[in-house]
Amino acid sequence: MIEIKKIWYYFTRYIDGFLLVGIIALMLVGLIVLYSATGANINKISHQMINISIALAVMWSVANIPLQHIRRLALPMYLIGLVLLIGVALFGEINNGARRWLDIGITRIQPSELMKVAIPLMMAWYFDKHEITLRLRDYIGATVLLMLPVFLILKQPDLGTATLISASGFYVLFLAGLSWRIITGLTITVAGSFPVLWSIMHDYQRQRIMTLLDPSQDPLGAGYHIIQSSIAIGSGGIDGKGWQNGTQTQLDFLPEQSTDFIFAVFSEEFGLIGNTLLLLLYLIVIGRCMIITVNASTQFTRLIAGSITLTFFTYIFVNMGMVSGILPVVGVPLPLISYGGTSMVTMLLGFGILMSIQTHPKLIKT
């Protein structure tokens, strides 16, 4: 009895119970929706459960690593990621007009996924290293660190990942205290650079933006996704059509219904009530992450925690915004719910870091 208690203690001591419950609740919601979206496809459900198990294992492992060790991994991870991204640019496999995957002999990997974790780590490490007073040139240095991989990912092209990585890097800059004047300046610059960006964008990217502005322009082509998902959400009404009763979903009018557009399935079948509860659940998880962030003891951990939390939120917002038609379709999964292993693992790796920050002894309490 005492043995079991001891094992349980060692097994769970670096796990944040509150956060875990929130995460698992979201994953269960995901499985329930996936069951409906795949038409009760047990294979896919099993596969997703394997994904979840792997991701949970990754989370548990990371949570058990003290932050000092993780901190040491920041630079190598970043450098390896950068090298792999250059590798992709040179030797990557072309799939659907985009060069995102790299065959490294044993397996195929998508280095941009690695960067989702490496960037906030690297930037937090960078600011942590640069002493008390942060000067403009430190911000410029950090920006360069951020822009290098973002540029490579944009070239793949992968607008969604580039946006999310930029966001995660920007959150570090922001939380590190980048002055409002620079933020304002940056905003103006981004707005000003839009015409330039437009000119170097790929046709399909321009198409996505045009389609967002007016989906009806291309109802059978690029606009089809947005129109069908809007119909799915809207027709769900307040109380939804009921589990496995969404006509848009069950009759396959909704595209990508188990991955990027799974939220439309949820919305159609559970309605505004379901959406409200789901947003609240996400808010609770975010809230817990915020508490962990506030409690973090060092600048490095604060920046990391803050960036992971805000990035998590960004995934939610971008995905729901895109599915409900207020953001362009950029191919971002709904965290913890969409079908797929990679994003699940990346996401739980982040939560593992958060748990590590929360549960390992704080070096200094402030």
Binding site: I233, G234, Q248, R302, F313
Partner: protein, 639 residues
């Protein structure tokens, strides 16, 4: 490392971080609110709109085409029917090349040059995304052959279709008409009438004849099936079904046996015959010779057959009974005679000497009688029996054109009768006002002379003449001529009788009618112009012969049948009714380019009457011989 960390954590930095985090939390809440507002907009404000769109996505409405109503003659004999068969259809927009597809198909299934021509004509008339038949009535072997090779032919399909068939072909083609593929013009018309929805799924529409004029009755009401369909277009299940209501069956007043008898009596000659029931206006026979095979038009006629029909010198597509206008010739005289009596211009006793011609006072020109030397003394009775022209020349001059016009127009000449098929023409009954209006010329007395014997400007259709004859036969009742007698409800099977429609009644003096009608009976008796046709009739047979001039004969020339091009020869006319004392049938006959009414048109009437009244088929020689009362045949052939 520890050292470094310690140095970095001062309160100002922490404060700044916390401020930034607070800003972030505000940012998160605001963006979540925006999302929530969007959900609210989609799911509450616009819910109905998106619900409609979702329903439109999943529900496909398939039309269920009703079966077209059948057409029967008055005795229940089928004139138009339906049969189911398989057709091979091509959607031009779905095949890479129509030409090569046809070539390839031809290696599997027999496709004749005619089929190809017909298909090309159809293609020209239809939208490219419409499925068009290349072959109808596939055999089982052909269906199996194609099914095995279907993968090679995207855009080519076998479809079960209901086809129309007209078993009687040319015999009733001018009455029944035909249905054919709906073309762009038809679509426009349907849209104009707001009927487009009822034709979703229909491929054919009545184009002419009964098929056209009773389209609404025959077509029926299209049913609908609501089918739940997935994104790939597969039907998942039927949600609801509104069955189609088949078109109603039509029972015509036409007597197919009578029609056949008339056809037989005509033989190879061109012409028309319209027979009406004087008691109610029902059309008993409606013949236009030659007819055509109306089945050719159903699937779209091929170029070759079309040219053959359209360019034929016999003009088989021309409905002579309905649309052919001819000078009525001497069949006009009974109406003139009645006018003379009713208007007091002649008494029955009045007689005149006929020198064989008539001249207007102070004019040299002689209007000749058909009989050189004239008929001697002629009164009204004799004028009809021998068809004296001179009598009417002089009468017309006394009456004046407008009296003639006003009186005779009461018999329906010069205007449409209103029969229940479309395309009728109004003919012409001239008046001085008409001439002024048409030619800006005043009416000359000479014009009246030709009008009096049904020539000149006079033009009438066989239908109009039958209508006018009916009014004499029934003592003044103008019934609307009707082809459809009954409509059988497709749902209940109940038969709705269409009541006869009395358009108006003429108030004619019985005495005057009696005078004219007794003369018409004598026309078919020895001494009359139709004596040969009336010989030994088992009923009293009243009629009037006529000759309709195709070309004018110049002053001082004689009409010589032999010397004239066959197509320019006179048309034979005959109007008649029987039995004279209680008429059951009234008719008008036109036989083109065959000379006089007595010799060619009147015998047709006799055969038709024999069939109708006695049940005798044409070839009545033996019967007539038995009934013969050794009456001498005058052998005269008259106007």
């Amino acid at each position: 490392m520890k050292h470094k960390v310690e140095l970095r954590n001062h309160p100002a930095e922490l404060h700044k971080f916390r401020m930034r985090l607070a800003v972030s939390i505000g940012f998160i809440l605001i963006l979540f609110l925006i999302l929530y507002a969007r959900f609210y907009y989609l799911q509450v404000t616009q819910q109905e709109h998106y619900h409609t769109l979702a329903e439109a996505n999943r529900i496909t409405i398939l039309p269920l085409v009703p079966n077209r109503g059948l057409i029967y003659d008055r005795n229940g004999r089928v004139l138009a029917q339906n049969y189911s068969a398989y057709a091979l259809e091509i959607t031009p927009s779905k095949v890479p090349s129509v030409e090569s597809t046809l070539d390839e198909l031809a290696t599997l299934i027999e496709i004749t040059a005619t089929d190809r021509q017909r298909f090309k004509k159809l293609m020209k008339e239809s939208k490219r995304f419409k499925s068009l038949p290349i072959r109808n009535r596939l055999t089982d072997v052909e269906i199996a052959t194609f099914a095995a090779n279907r993968y090679r032919f995207p855009g080519v399909e076998i479809k079960a279709r209901v086809f129309r068939q007209y078993p009687e072909k040319e015999i009733v083609s001018h009455v029944v008409g035909y249905i054919s593929r709906i073309n762009d013009q038809d679509l426009e018309q349907l849209e104009l009438n707001g009927e487009l929805n009822n034709y979703r799924g229909s491929h054919h529409i009545g184009k002419i004849g009964i098929e056209q004029s009773y389209e609404t009755q025959l077509h029926g009401i299209t049913g609908f099936e609501e089918v739940e369909t997935d994104a790939a277009g597969r039907s998942i299940r039927v949600l609801s079904r509104t069955p189609p209501i088949p078109g109603n069956n039509l029972i015509l007043s036409l007597d197919l046996g009578l029609q056949e008898a008339a056809e037989k009596a005509f033989g190879d000659r061109r012409g028309a015959l319209v027979a009406l029931d004087p008691n109610n206006g029902e059309v008993l026979a409606f013949v236009s010779k030659p007819g055509y095979d109306n089945n050719l038009f159903i699937g779209g006629i091929d170029q070759e057959n079309w040219s053959l029909l359209n360019n034929s010198i016999d003009r088989p597509l021309n409905n002579r009974a309905l649309r052919g206008v001819y000078p009525p010739g001497s069949t006009f005289k009974p109406f003139m005679a009645l006018a003379a009596l009713e208007l007091g211009k002649r008494t029955p006793e009045y007689s005149m000497g006929d020198p064989g011609y008539f001249s207007l006072p102070g004019v040299d020109r002689r209007y000749r009688d058909w009989k050189p030397g004239g008929h001697g003394r002629v009164n009204l009775h004799k004028s009809l029996v021998v068809s004296c022209d001179t009598y009417y020349y002089s009468l017309a001059n006394d009456m004046g054109i407008d009296n003639i016009h006003n009186f005779i127009s009461q018999f329906g000449l010069g205007r449409k009768t209103g029969i229940d098929i479309e395309g009728e023409v109004s003919g012409l009954l001239p008046s001085s006002a008409w001439k002024m209006n048409q030619y800006k010329q005043k009416w000359y007395a000479g014009d009246t002379i030709s009008v009096s014997i049904g020539q000149g400007y006079n033009l009438a259709t066989p239908l109009q003449l039958a209508f006018a004859t009916m009014i004499i036969a029934n003592n003044g009742k103008a019934y609307l001529p009707r082809l459809v007698k009954q409509i059988q409800n497709s749902q209940t099977g109940s038969i709705e009788e269409l009541p006869p429609k009395l358009l108006y009644s003429l108030n004619l003096k019985p005495k005057n009618l009696e005078i004219v009608k007794s003369a018409l009976v004598d026309v078919t008796r020895p001494g009359g112009t139709a004596a040969k046709a009336g010989l030994n009739a088992a009923y009293t047979f009243a009629g009037k012969t006529g000759t309709s001039q195709v070309i004018g004969i110049k002053q001082g020339e004689r009409y010589n049948e032999k010397s004239i091009n066959e197509r320019h020869r006179d048309h034979a006319m005959f109007i008649a009714y029987a039995p004279a004392e209680d008429p059951k049938i009234a008719l008008a006959i036109l036989v083109e380019n065959t000379g006089t009414g007595g010799s060619t048109a009147a015998p047709i009437a006799r055969q038709v009457f024999d069939y109708f009244l006695l049940g005798q088929s044409p070839e009545p020689e033996a019967t007539i011989a038995k009934l013969t009362e050794s009456t001498e045949d005058h052998g005269h052939e008259h106007l």
